[in-house]
Structures are given as structure tokens and as C-alpha cells.
């Protein structure tokens, strides 16, 4: 194996792959970075077994100034290799595997010789069937992740809830996450999808966060492919694989109430500010709850909280519409804050049934596609 490449361009691809590599791993070879070189280009791979990132450097792309002399493959220790490449003196770098698994890295007058491992030992990625691909617009995928990942459970006791449940059925993509106190569900209708493509997977929330960070850096649409045990996202020259969670995700569709006794519409931004003020005191009290009092006859919505040690807070909330029965309901302000933030600057409709039943938040314009559900707290 021998090739020469433009160093700064190579480093940017290297950084991409390094995101997946962790020094804390139980499988020794995963501290390494896999390089496969052929006439068409270079494929860099890094993995922490949960996620795997592949970067494809095409020989035809003139930015990289790539000349391949000899094809081949090797795994090099990722941390050292990237540090070395970053500190090399010249604009070009040549990497050559000489005897066995030893790699020579030369640039200008500097020459490194580092020991690698057999690329065969690196975990094999699943074969992907190209005819089962769906395409998601970049911003839609980002939004889906942002809106659902907040409700992913951080507790270890129910590991299946640490994932986002994503299903595709008849061109309707549904993403659900819940930690059993709250739930976020987002639906997206995909237009040009073959009806034959259905899937039902649970993707770890951590992987989705990482993916979200990576797709923010690019503008391209994202192609998604599902295999038996991994899901693959392709954007630009990057392939992002994530392992899936195994098990049955709880049935969530019946959890979302379809009737309401009291509904209120208000501006998410100003309501968020009110909640933040009220939570200043609620955080100090033992059970961290704020109380919402709704009185449709007097067109009054009041938010209040108290901490026995510090004092009390009361604030009237501006609404655009208020209907139904009188209600007093208490909830954890953190859940409400997360939910409101995921809506951004828009008006939301909150629908309550009773003081002890979960209530829903939906955007007023598009109530079908995004629902956030919060369970209230019993205070009496």
C-alpha cells in the first residue's frame, strides 16, 4: 500500500472519522483507524462498536491531490496517527506500508515508522442493499432528532428506552422517544418512497446525537438504509453506521389522548420565559414542581411555585385562546422547558384532560405531526 495526499484535506477527513474512535474500548483493534486504499480512492473507518464512521476520499476529487501507487489496507493507532499527520511539516504526506504491518509516514524531511495491525481484524460492516434507500432532507432529519432525542431515557433500568423508536410505514416516518415521564413523537410524510420499504428500528439516542452533530456540518440530503443489525446514514462522502437496540419498544400510540377538557394556546417563547422564572424557586424546593391554574371563565392562566425556605412566585400567563373547564395541574418544569425549547418560536396548543392525566403539547399550525406528552405530578 502506498499513496500520497494533500495533508490539510486529509486531516479534515481524518477528524471526521476520529469522532467515532474512543480510547476506552474493550476491543483493542477499535483504538485504530482502518485505511483501505485502491485505485478509486481511500476509505477511512473508525468505530467504537456502537457507531462506525466511514469517510470516502475519491481519487477523482482534485482537492485531495491523491495519487495511489499501490492498493492495500492497514489499521493504524488512531490517536498517534492523527497527531503525527497534524504535525507534519510539508503540504503533502506519503503513507506506505512496507513489510508486514508497519507504515512509513513521510512528509518533507520528516519520516515516521509506526506499527499497525491487520485490517482483516477490524469489525466488518454489514452489506448494504442499495435498492432499499430512503432519502431525508437534511434539515428534516435534524429536526426529527432534535425534537425527539430530549425525551430519551437516561436511566439504565430500561435500556430499550435509551433509544428512539423509528418506523417507516406506507411512506410515513414516525419517531418516538419516551422516558416514561414524557414522550415526544414526530411524524414526517415522505413523498417519493417505494411502498415496499418498511422498517421498525430502535436507534440509541447517543448515536442520534452524534449523527445530528455531523449532519449540521453539511448541506446534503441524507440517505438512510436499514440492515438487519445496523442502520446506515449516508451524507456527502461520509457513511455513518449505528448499531440498533434489540427488544420490543413499548406500544406508545395509545398513550396520546385524543380528547381534551381544557385547552390553551400560547406563545412558546414567552411561556418558556415564565416557566424559567417559576423554576428558579421550584428547583429549591424538595419536589421541584410548578403549578398551573387555568380558569377559562375569567380568561386567566396563572403559574405559581413556592419553596418553603425562599418564598413564592406567581405570574399571569398571556394566552391567545383558552377553553374548557377549570383546572389546577402541577408538573416538573424541566420537562416543560425541554418541550417548549423543542418547539422554538411558535404558538403551541396545550390540551389537558384532568389534573392527574398526561397532557399534550402540539404546535398550533401543524398539530398532527409533532406531539409532546408530559405526565403531571400529584401534589395532594
Amino acid at each position: 500500500m502506498k499513496f500520497t495526499i494533500n495533508r490539510p484535506a486529509f486531516i479534515s477527513q481524518l477528524n471526521n472519522v476520529l469522532r467515532a474512535i474512543s480510547s476506552k474500548t474493550t476491543i483493542p483493534i477499535l483504538t485504530g483507524l482502518k485505511m483501505v486504499v485502491d485505485k478509486e480512492g481511500i476509505i477511512l473507518t473508525g468505530s467504537n462498536s456502537d457507531i462506525t464512521i466511514e469517510s470516502v476520499i475519491e481519487a477523482s476529487d482534485t482537492d485531495y491531490d491523491l495519487t495511489v501507487e499501490d492498493p492495500g489496507a492497514i489499521v493504524l493507532p488512531a490517536r498517534f496517527f492523527s497527531e503525527i499527520v497534524k504535525k507534519l511539516p510539508d503540504k503533502q504526506v506519503t503513507i506506505e506500508v512496507t513489510s508486514g504491518f508497519q507504515a512509513d509516514i513521510t512528509s518533507g524531511t520528516a519520516k515516521f515508522q509506526i506499527n499497525g495491525q491487520d485490517a482483516e481484524n477490524f469489525p466488518h460492516l454489514p452489506e448494504v442493499e442499495t435498492n432499499k434507500t430512503i432519502t431525508l432532507p437534511n434539515d428534516v432529519l435534524k429536526e426529527v432528532i432534535r425534537q425527539t432525542v430530549i425525551a430519551v431515557s437516561k436511566q439504565e433500568s430500561r435500556p430499550i428506552l435509551a433509544g428512539i423508536h423509528i418506523t417507516l410505514h406506507d411512506g410515513l416516518l414516525t419517531a418516538v422517544a419516551t422516558d416514561s415521564h414524557r414522550l415526544a413523537q414526530r411524524k414526517v410524510t415522505l413523498n417519493d418512497v417505494d411502498n415496499g420499504i418498511d422498517f421498525d428500528v430502535i436507534i440509541p439516542g447517543k448515536s442520534m446525537n452524534e449523527l445530528s452533530g455531523m449532519i449540521s456540518d453539511v448541506d446534503e440530503d441524507v440517505q438512510v438504509q436499514v440492515t438487519e443489525n445496523q442502520i446506515l446514514f449516508i451524507f456527502g462522502n461520509t457513511h455513518f453506521y449505528s448499531r440498533l437496540l434489540e427488544g420490543n419498544y413499548p406500544e406508545t400510540s395509545q398513550l396520546i389522548p385524543d380528547t381534551a377538557d381544557t385547552t390553551v394556546e400560547l406563545d412558546a417563547g414567552t411561556f418558556l420565559a415564565s416557566i424559567e422564572r417559576a423554576s428558579l424557586l421550584s428547583h429549591e424546593s424538595r419536589n421541584d414542581v410548578v403549578k398551573l391554574t387555568l380558569n377559562p371563565d375569567e380568561n386567566l392562566v396563572r403559574i405559581s411555585s413556592d419553596s418553603p425556605d425562599i418564598g413564592t412566585v406567581e405570574e399571569e400567563v398571556a394566552t391567545t385562546s383558552l377553553d374548557g373547564n377549570d383546572l389546577e395541574i402541577s408538573f416538573n418544569p424541566n420537562y416543560m422547558k425541554d418541550a417548549l425549547r423543542s418547539f422554538g418560536q411558535t404558538t403551541v396548543k396545550i390540551a389537558f384532560t384532568s389534573a392527574l392525566r398526561p397532557f399534550t403539547l402540539v404546535p398550533t399550525e401543524d398539530g398532527e405531526n409533532f406531539v409532546h406528552l408530559i405526565t403531571p405530578v400529584r401534589t395532594f
Binding site: F122, P123, N229
Partner: protein, 340 residues
């Protein structure tokens, strides 16, 4: 020692390997096994053999070929779908358990099967073991769990009941002795050592700087005093044994030696003089004398006392306290009835 792992498994546990082969041929592998056997009985070797056999691309006559990419990765510890956990020190660490649980919920990375090898399964805390129960009870298809332990009774009964227990067969005494003899370990020590472990490597470690010889002498001297009801034995704990008990492993070996020597005494007192069944052959004369001196009930009580000491060490009781207390109790037992 460049012996191939599958040959080691075959040699150490031929019947179990043959049994597993039959099970595999019929595709009747259970999802969870508990391998029980003393150190050196080849538990890990059998587990490794099973891993190779399950993942090998071209098994020949029920044996892994050891040359394919899968075998190579298993041998170098790089296979992503084989998850192992082992105790570090006295317990399997919380991080390991967390890792295990996370792996249990995730799909296999490559193929459709996953293998978990949990060494020292007895060294999980009750909480940790309980949190794994759910996964052990009904793992997904293609998930196999092998738990290895030296002490079956220390594994939670709830775990035991969810696994198939396979008891490793004890190694042949003569084989072991031959191997130790090849390492030029003196005969007296050889006989004692095989009473403690089946692991040749372990014995080699103990003998490395003459520690084991001192330990055997120390325990024998203590035995001679204490079996005479002589309270000088109490002093010997401080002057001889404590000096030898420099770390936890050595403390454990010393306690095991004490248990072993009293076991021998009980056997000899019962008229068993077959040297094949005894370990402290040098003390045989002394032991025979005991039979006349004390009643069988007394010797039995003492033997029972010595069985408790390992448990005490597990509860973090100081080594010196354990042995001193034991000494007093033995002397009391022997004198009490001797005075009648």
C-alpha cells in the same frame, strides 16, 4: 506452552468438549451455561473453544479451523460480537456490568449471533447479578451466555436456575503430579499443591520464590502445636503465618492450607492411609497419633471450624484475627473434651 487453545480444551475436558459437539450438531445449544470447576480445570479454554466453534467460517469435523478471519480475530481478542467480562480484584466492576448490560440490549455488530463470556460469575455483587437476570432469562435469538465460576454456591440461585450447569471434570491426579514433577517442584509440595488447585501455572507462581515451601512448613508447624492443644500455636500465628500472608491471595492460600491439613487429619483418623488421597504425607504420623488422643466428634468439629475461615476472609475480617480466633477455638475444642 504454544499449545493451541482448542487442543487445551480437548485435553483438559475431553468429555465436555465432546458433549458440546453433540449439542452443536443437533443445534440444541442452550442460551446460558454455567461452567463450574476449580482453577485450571479448563473452563475458559472450553468457553474459548465454543466461541471459535460458533463463529468459525469453515469448521471441520466439529472443530474450528483456527485460520479463518473469524478465528484469528477471536484468538487476538478483536471480535466485536464476543463480549467478555472478568473480575478485577475481588469484584466485577460496575463499569463492566454497565458495559455488559448495554451490550445485551444492542444488536450484534456483524452477524446474527453474540456470545457473552462472564468469568468469575461468583464475583458479581448481588445487585449486579440481579440486574443481569432479565437478560439471562430471555436473551434474543442468537445470543449465548457462558458464565464461569469456581464456586457454584456463591452464584445467586436465581442466576443458577436460569442456566444449564456444566461441571468441569476434575483433572486426573497423576497427570497433574507428572506436570508438576516436570517443573521440578519437590514431591512434598506437589502433593499439597494439588489439594489446592488444578492449575499448574498457579502452583508455579506460588513456588517461584520458595514462598510455598515456607507456607507449607509454617502451616505444618502450627498444626503440630495446635493439635496438641498447645497455646504456643497462638504465638506461631503472629511469628510465622502472618509474615507469610503478605497479600490477599496468599492469605487465601494459607487458609486453604489450614483447611486442607485438618481434612487430612480427619481422613487419617478414620483409618484412611492411602497416600493417594492425602496431601500432607509428612504429617501422617502425627495425624495417626491424634486419632487415639481425641474423639471423632472433636476432630469433626475442628474440621468444621476450618471450613468457616475462608468465608470470614471474604467478609473482610483481618487475616491475623481469623487465624488467632481459629487457634483458640481449636485448642478449646480439643482441651474441653480431653479434660473429661
Amino acid at each position: 506452552m504454544a499449545e493451541e487453545p482448542q487442543e487445551r480444551a480437548e485435553r483438559l475436558q475431553p468429555r465436555i468438549v465432546a458433549r458440546l459437539k453433540r449439542i452443536l450438531d443437533k443445534h440444541e445449544l442452550a442460551h446460558a451455561y454455567l461452567f463450574v470447576g476449580p482453577d485450571g480445570s479448563g473452563k475458559l479454554e472450553v468457553a474459548r473453544w465454543l466461541a471459535l466453534r460458533l463463529f468459525c467460517l469453515h469448521p471441520q469435523d466439529g472443530e474450528p479451523d483456527l485460520t479463518c478471519a473469524e478465528c484469528q480475530r477471536i484468538l487476538s481478542g478483536n471480535h466485536p460480537d464476543i463480549v467478555t467480562a472478568a473480575a478485577e480484584g475481588r469484584q466485577i466492576k460496575v463499569d463492566e456490568i454497565r458495559h455488559l448490560k448495554a451490550e445485551f440490549t444492542k444488536s450484534a455488530m456483524e452477524g446474527s449471533q453474540k456470545l457473552f463470556i462472564i468469568q468469575d460469575a461468583d464475583k458479581m455483587t448481588t445487585g449486579a447479578a440481579n440486574s443481569l437476570l432479565k437478560f439471562i432469562e430471555e436473551p434474543g435469538p442468537g445470543v449465548y451466555i457462558l458464565m464461569l465460576t469456581t464456586n457454584k454456591s456463591a452464584v445467586l440461585p436465581t442466576i443458577r436456575s436460569r442456566t444449564q450447569v456444566i461441571e468441569m471434570q476434575p483433572l486426573r491426579r497423576a497427570d497433574l503430579l507428572d506436570q508438576l514433577a516436570a517443573l521440578e517442584i519437590p514431591k512434598g509440595q506437589r502433593l499439597v499443591a494439588i489439594g489446592l488447585t488444578d492449575s499448574v501455572q498457579q502452583v508455579q507462581e506460588w513456588c517461584a520464590d520458595g514462598w510455598f515451601a515456607q507456607a507449607v512448613t509454617g502451616v505444618s508447624q502450627w498444626f503440630n502445636s495446635v493439635s496438641q492443644g498447645n497455646m504456643l500455636a497462638f504465638v506461631e500465628v503472629q511469628t510465622k503465618l502472618v509474615k507469610l500472608a503478605t497479600d490477599r491471595d496468599k492469605q487465601q492460600v494459607l487458609l486453604d492450607l489450614i483447611t486442607l491439613i485438618w481434612r487430612d487429619a480427619l481422613l487419617v483418623a478414620n483409618g484412611i492411609s492411602d497416600p493417594d488421597r492425602l496431601h500432607f504425607v509428612n504429617e501422617q504420623g502425627q495425624m495417626q497419633a491424634l486419632a487415639g488422643q481425641y474423639s471423632m466428634a472433636q476432630l469433626l468439629t475442628v474440621s468444621q471450624l476450618t471450613l468457616e475461615i475462608r468465608h470470614l476472609l471474604g467478609q473482610n475480617v483481618n487475616f491475623q484475627n481469623i487465624v488467632e480466633q481459629l487457634t483458640i477455638r481449636i485448642v478449646q475444642t480439643l482441651r474441653a473434651v480431653g479434660a473429661e
